[in-house]
């Protein structure tokens, strides 16, 4: 638009800059942490500048894909695997989101991780994550996307388990990887399926073009496989339960990986294959929409009862991702990406706010906080901005995107619309519950024992809570700006840009329009949620304890996360797989398979007793004898066969 079109090499540089940072840190800066942090910021800053250029180019093209040729990776018979860049409205926006949030998070990290013994390792992993995420977004080939999909999974594992000396962090990392890999199983089947059935196509655009001509069964299998991957990565029911545990990672990691970028990759994946999904039978759409809708309300309900501020945000993230998935299922492609876009900024802001609070109090437990609005005014106000945006209060960013999602629901499915409005109420409730518990009332002393990571790095706790350093509050302030205003991009042809990535016949975004019913419903719900939170957690009418008593078992059910973790871990994994199938297979192997072998051995030995005198007990002798025997046998057979053949 303003600049000449970005050359391909410059788009690759967006990807290679953080990779170079990773390699340089591993190779040279392992013991020079400050340089490692600066290099990461510099590299991602470079990516950010280039991503802006790419965005500018894409806007100039109205979001239509730029023409870049793929490059061969390797060929092997029918396998002709190439990687390339897909730069269109969708990926350009994602590149912008990933680099922007990543850049701010790295700056924030220099404060938050200050003094941590693993500082270099932290930035190495962050660089590697950013590279993988950018590779995922710009991939032109399904396989290329899958490879980076797995790599973000790896870096997520490494970052969740960053403080691996804590057993809970190590367990959470493992859980995240395995649960998402469960979803990736379906994804990989889809990758293989589509390649085999289309005669070797991995190119995303080509798959989308071919989709309309594919059989319903094939499309159903493919799209459900894709969905499986998305459900794992974007923490949708029933694979949602890894994400709350992932909060064991450092908070900036949660802010980047587990709110703004990686967990949104599932939604991105669905959007990337939107034409294929649209071509699939209606049942697929309904499945996607209802998984999203159910996840949205299911997770929101848990967000209301959590006492750990990061877990509230984690459930909020799951819930909001549910909105996006629901929108995709309802055909609301633009709404889904629009909400992904705004959510990335205000949710990253909120996570960083929770990290700032933790930095001051040494805990994430809101029951131990309180009254922090006086000591941490910047954190407080930015947190309020983020919460209002998330709650969808006019005219903040979240309002516009959430309204688009609800509008699609209103037109397509009234049940999901009702769910969406209920979620809006619950969202406002849990966010303002968090605000009242954290920032209002009296300070309840914090809890250094629950501190994150290397507690010794935060010895300033003893002086009472105070505002975080500039490296931490500056990103909060900067992120507040998009959290307030970025929804207005909807008036700047955001829809055109995003829709440039899909074929013309699927484009139906008509710009922002406010429907009276939707507007009133969502605003009333949000204000109602804030009001309810104020009544309970500020005024104490009714008091939270009374409510908890009144709800009894229901409260307990929600507080225990509907026992999904127990069902999955104790039931499916420990009960069925480990103690059931595993024990059975191991016993079968030992008793039956090996039993036969040993039995044959015993029988042979008994038979061989008669030949005992030959046995000298020396294996060398046996083996030599055996070899001699073989040679003799061969010679004899040659002689005999020679006769046979001559005859």
């Amino acid at each position: 638009m303003f600049l000449p079109d970005i050359p391909e090499a410059a788009v690759w540089a967006i990807y290679f800059a953080p990779l170079a940072s990773f390699l340089l840190i591993v190779g040279f800066l392992w013991r020079r942490p400050l340089e490692a942090g600066r290099l990461t910021i510099f590299a991602i800053g470079l990516s950010w500048v280039l991503a802006l250029w790419a965005l500018d180019t894409s806007i100039g093209l109205d979001g239509e894909p730029a023409a870049f040729e793929p490059h061969a990776w390797f060929t092997l018979f029918d396998l002709d695997i190439s990687f390339g860049i897909r730069l269109d409205g969708l990926s350009a926006v994602m590149l912008f989101v990933v680099t922007s949030v990543s850049l701010l998070v790295q700056v924030y990290s220099t404060g938050y991780m200050h003094g941590d013994t693993g500082y270099s390792r932290y930035f190495a992993f962050m660089s590697l994550f950013t590279m993988s995420m950018l590779g995922l977004v710009m991939a032109s080939s399904l396989l290329q996307l899958f490879i980076h999909w797995e790599l973000v999974g790896l870096t997520s594992y490494l970052l969740i388990g960053f403080w691996f000396h804590r057993p809970s962090a190590a367990a959470a990392a493992k859980k995240a990887f395995i649960v998402t890999r469960f979803g990736d199983f379906g994804f990989l089947v889809a990758v293989v399926l589509i390649w085999v059935k289309t005669g070797g196509v991995f190119d995303i655009a080509e798959i989308n073009e071919l989709a309309a001509g594919l059989s319903a069964a094939l499309l159903t299998g493919f799209t459900l496989g894709i969905l499986s991957g998305a459900v794992g990565k974007s923490a949708q029911f029933p694979l949602h339960f890894w994400l709350p545990d992932a909060m064991e990672g450092p908070t900036p990691v949660s802010s980047l990986v587990h709110s703004a970028t990686m967990v949104a990759a599932g939604v991105y994946l669905l959007a990337r294959f939107f034409p294929a999904i649209e071509a699939a039978p209606g049942g697929v759409h309904t499945t996607i929409a209802y998984i999203g809708g159910f996840t949205a309300i299911f997770a929101a309900s848990m967000g209301i009862v959590m006492t750990d501020i990061k877990r509230v945000l984690a459930y909020s993230t799951i819930s909001q991702l549910g909105y996006m998935v629901m929108a995709i299922g309802l055909g609301g492609y633009v709404a889904a990406i629009f909400h992904l876009f705004t959510h990335a900024f205000f949710k990253s802001l909120l996570f960083q706010g929770s990290g700032s609070v933790n930095h001051a109090t040494g805990t994430f437990d809101m029951r131990l906080m309180g009254g922090l609005r006086h000591s941490m005014p910047i954190t407080f106000w930015t947190f309020v901005v983020g919460s209002l945006s998330l709650a969808g209060i006019f005219p903040l960013a979240g309002f516009w995107s959430k309204d688009e999602v609800l509008l699609d629901a209103w037109h397509e499915d009234k049940i999901l619309f009702a769910v969406g409005v209920a979620v809006a109420f619950m969202t406002a409730l849990y966010m303002f519950r968090a605000i009242f518990m954290t920032f209002f009332g009296e300070y309840r002393g914090g809890e250094p024992a629950e501190s994150h990571g290397d507690a010794e790095a935060h010895d300033e706790h003893h002086a009472g809570p105070h505002e975080s350093p500039a490296s931490m509050w500056a990103p909060l302030v900067i992120l507040s700006i998009p959290a307030i205003f970025i929804g207005l991009v909807a008036f700047l042809d955001f829809g055109v840009l995003i829709e440039g990535a899909i074929p013309e016949e699927l484009r139906h975004f008509e710009g922002v329009h406010v429907d009276g019913v939707v507007l009133v419903a969502s605003t009333v719900a949000a204000l109602g949620g804030i009001g309810a939170a104020a009544a309970i957690y500020f005024a104490g009418q009714p008091s939270p304890d009374v409510l908890r008593q009144a709800l009894g078992p229901l409260h307990r059910l929600v507080e225990r996360k509907y026992y999904v973790d127990e069902v999955a871990e104790d039931g499916a994994v420990r009960g069925f797989l480990y103690n059931g199938a595993g024990r059975a297979a191991a016993a079968f192997d030992r008793v039956v398979v090996d039993g036969v072998v040993n039995g044959v051995g015993m029988a042979t030995r008994t038979l061989g007793d008669g030949l005992r005198r030959v046995q000298t007990g020396q294996m060398q002798a046996y083996t030599s004898l055996y070899l001699v025997g073989v040679v003799v046998a061969v010679v004899v057979l040659f002689a005999v066969s020679g006769d046979v053949l001559e005859r």
Partner: protein, 490 residues
């Protein structure tokens, strides 16, 4: 050149044996020099191998009995093609690694290294033989050093495990020998290339029986359910270097035999039983992985994971097509480097902790960051993480097999979830968690031979994972003729 590769380790073995007692430590250096020279030769072979040329290259041939009128010959014939060249390279690499990680061995040093080198010669003979009888002789020759290495330098129930390994293999190879003889006598030649070009269409015994007689030996070696139980025992009780050789190259003899002999010589029979093979493969992958999940012994865990991962080789074979075969060939190479590295790491850990019980270890990474990092890397490669060679092999296998056997392929794909389970669970238990008093004084990998061994394998795993074209060209040239024959047999 191939004869040189065959004889270098043998020469080293002889030299090591005739060392005077007081200089027995020099056996280590002799072994390193000779296996190193052999590795250099194998690199040269791989690099100078020309994928655009059809047939075997670097052929060394000497006929003991000329073909003449009798119609068959006894010959010494070595050669490599795109299937065997990578395996020769793998053998060269892993032999050096095995020697390096044996530098700590102090029991009967001369003999130990002599047997280790003889093992390399035997396996080299298997990978390079162009004649069935010669193939068989080397196949059997491998047993001798293996048996002794396990039963003398092993641990635990070493005699039982060594004997089990021996009996399993001999049972299989007895059937194989019968199969070879029937085939060879029928065709009037034991030359693999000639048999492949003119496979017999009839014999004294039904060809289907011959097929299974030969396959039995290979399936035992691979190994695959239900003839796999020798493997966990042999691995657990073998010394580290022998585990590396066993997982790294000996198992590949099975897959190699299938692709080199069983399939191209009996393509119609192979086609007939493809579904059986696919079912065995899919079942082995899941069965092996589920049992792996339960293992409490670190070495046994890696051993059972091999049963699961070698199932991918058979799965690729069962596709009866070029891409599937390529997947199997790639999986053999990558499994050799990855599982070889896993066993190296298990050995290094055991050297320090003197236990292999997963439950006894915790927080080791605090004391051994390098070992922990490399072990994690090997584990990630093993669970098929992209960027490492295992992913390329598994993906190729899945792509090549799905059309022929969707159910078995989907089962095998589910195996990657299970492998993530046992690998990460193991990493969590032994490396993560707070540092403990008991393991507070363990040294990291500091010796040069340890670091060289790890580094070499990591290099191969990453290089092929990032740039598979390093090996795919050779594989394609080796698989193409085999696939053409087998596909024509459909």
């Amino acid at each position: 050149m191939l004869t040189l590769f065959l004889l270098l380790p043998l020469a080293g073995a002889v030299l090591a044996l005739i060392l005077p007692k007081e200089r027995e430590q020099d056996a280590k250096w002799i072994a390193l020099v000779f296996s190193g020279l052999a590795f250099a030769v194998s690199i040269l072979v791989f690099v100078r191998f020309d994928p655009s040329v059809e047939g075997y290259q670097f052929v060394d041939r000497f006929e003991w009995i000329r073909a003449g009128d009798a119609g068959f010959s006894v010959q010494y014939a070595l050669g490599v093609d795109g299937l065997s060249a990578p395996l020769v390279l793998l053998l060269g690499l892993l032999s050096v690694v095995s020697v390096l990680i044996s530098f700590g061995v102090e029991l009967r040093v001369k003999e130990y290294f002599a047997w280790l080198l003889l093992l390399e010669t035997a396996v080299a003979g298997v990978f390079m033989s162009l004649d069935l009888i010669q193939f068989f002789v080397f196949w059997e020759l491998e047993l001798l050093p293996m048996y002794l290495l396990i039963s003398i330098w092993g641990s635990g129930r070493k005699e039982y495990s060594a004997m089990k390994f021996l009996l399993y293999t001999i049972t299989g190879s007895a059937f194989m020998l019968v199969g070879f003889l029937v085939l060879g006598l029928q065709a009037g030649t034991f030359d693999i290339a000639q048999l492949t070009a003119n496979p017999p269409d009839d014999a004294l015994v039904p060809l289907a029986v011959i097929f299974w007689a030969i396959m039995l030996a290979f399936l035992v070696k691979l190994p695959v359910f239900p003839v796999h139980t020798w493997l966990p025992d042999a691995h657990t009780d073998a010394p580290t270097a022998v585990s590396v050789m066993l997982a790294g190259v000996l198992l590949k003899m099975g897959g190699y035999g299938i692709l080199r002999i069983a399939l191209p010589i009996l393509p119609e029979q192979a086609q007939d039983f493809r579904v059986v093979l696919a079912a065995l493969a899919g079942f082995s992958v899941i069965y092996g992985a589920v049992i792996t999940l339960r293992q409490q012994d670190l070495k046994r865990l890696v051993a059972y994971s091999s049963v699961s991962h070698m199932g991918y080789v058979l799965l690729g074979v069962s596709a009866m097509g070029a891409v599937g075969f390529s997947g199997a060939a790639l999986q053999m190479f990558t499994h050799g480097t990855i599982t070889g590295l896993l066993f190296v790491m298990v050995g290094l850990i055991y050297d320090r902790t003197h236990t292999r019980e997963i439950g006894e270890m915790s927080g080791l990474i605090h004391r051994m960051p390098l070992i922990g990092t490399v072990m994690l890397l090997a584990g990630l490669a093993s669970l098929g993480l992209p960027g490492m060679s295992g992913f390329v092999a598994e993906l190729t296998t899945f792509l090549g097999t799905f059309d022929a056997h969707p159910a078995a392929t989907i089962a095998a794909i589910f195996g990657v979830v299970l492998s993530a389970g046992y690998i990460l669970w193991m990493v969590e238990r032994i490396f993560h968690g707070p540092p403990t008093e008991r393991w507070a004084h363990l040294p990291d990998a500091t010796a040069w031979w340890e670091r060289t061994a790890m580094g070499a394998l990591v290099l191969f795993i990453l290089a092929i994972g990032i740039y598979p074209a390093l090996i795919t060209e050779a594989v394609e040239s080796g698989i193409a003729p085999i696939a053409a024959i087998v596909e024509a047999g459909a």
